[in-house]
Subunit: 208 residues, 2 copies
Amino acid sequence: MASTVRRPSRVAKLPPRERILDAAEELFQREGIRRVGVQAIAEKAETTKMAIYRHFETKDELVAEWMRIVAADYQAAFDRVRTEYPGRPREQILGLARFIAEGLPAVSHRGCPFINTLAELPDRSHPARQVIEKHKAHQTRRLVGMCTEAGLPDPEQAAAEITFVLEGAQVSTQNGSIDQAGDRLMRIVEGIVDRHRPPLGSPRATVD
Amino acid sequence: MASTVRRPSRVAKLPPRERILDAAEELFQREGIRRVGVQAIAEKAETTKMAIYRHFETKDELVAEWMRIVAADYQAAFDRVRTEYPGRPREQILGLARFIAEGLPAVSHRGCPFINTLAELPDRSHPARQVIEKHKAHQTRRLVGMCTEAGLPDPEQAAAEITFVLEGAQVSTQNGSIDQAGDRLMRIVEGIVDRHRPPLGSPRATVD
DNA sequence: TCCACACGATACCGCTCGGTATCACTAGGG
DNA sequence: CCCTAGTGATACCGAGCGGTATCGTGTGGA
């Protein structure tokens, strides 16, 4: 391990900015934002504090950039299920739920980055908080659209219910109150999208 | 006149320990744990840092004591619905949901103390964290019992679903993605407890 | 060849943190 | 009466924080 560190330029290291973001992501996720100092991020990224402040105005801006990356990951999951199941909104919703359910073991005991960051940043004007709220609003809009396409009778209510269970599954995994949360989550979401099947002959009915 | 309840600072102050806990509760809830220093708590409690350390070994122990108080509040809500609707588990569950739903506006943008504290304390051996996990496990057990009494066919799955939506409603209120979360939450829980009404004359579900 | 420029390293600043030591005061019980 | 115990006030400690200043260094393009 030390031998790889020895080589500064012969080994193709990622550019500093990427290394900083990678290190920040891992430390923030594992320890929380306020527990992690800029110095610790620099060390994990194999660079220095000065380099961080050359790429990010403040630590708060670094946090916001991290949140933008996480939000982009979720957006990518949305895009993926949409191209994977074109015209089949029911499968799209289940794909999203599976994306969350499969991510539960990885974040067990540390939970969702959005929820944790929100808890650590009570200031509503914090740049990272604005990123989160904008992302969540956008995500809700897309989910309502899917529920509408799926022919659910009250799409906004269904989207709210799905959102609640997705968030709640992550929280309950974090505090250890519900076991097999992933399986339970999938069954719940299946129940939601199947509860009000569109009447037979509906143009948007699922094909299988 | 409210003077009986009011606590003029000079005349009839609460004992220091109570004032400290009251001040800590408000500051922790509003600002988060790590943002609030012991000095700030002392000032709000109209006492000094030394007095705090006479009553609590460390700041972490003060946090844990706060969590015990919050957990006791939730336990009291459980007890209240059980005595308020004796032998009517469906109403008990709805009463719990109403307890959460009515609390949503008060904690909007700051969320549930348990979730926030968990986010700020990644160390699983932290005393406050153990209080939370023990409380959540106990709460789940009680909820499963209610679902069993209500005759829901899969009480553990139903309890998981209810837990998810209760937690999720608080998270979604905090990040502002779902409006009218309280009303939506109540409709969802009503749907859960009404979805599988036990057939008339059906035998009781098995109790674990 | 030279220069610009991003990067690395280190020292430093002011501030706040959790926690401790010390001393004076006051109320209550024998 | 005094003795004790809890309280208030203040000063202090070492450590870590976010952020800055300064100087050295290696490399690539002209």
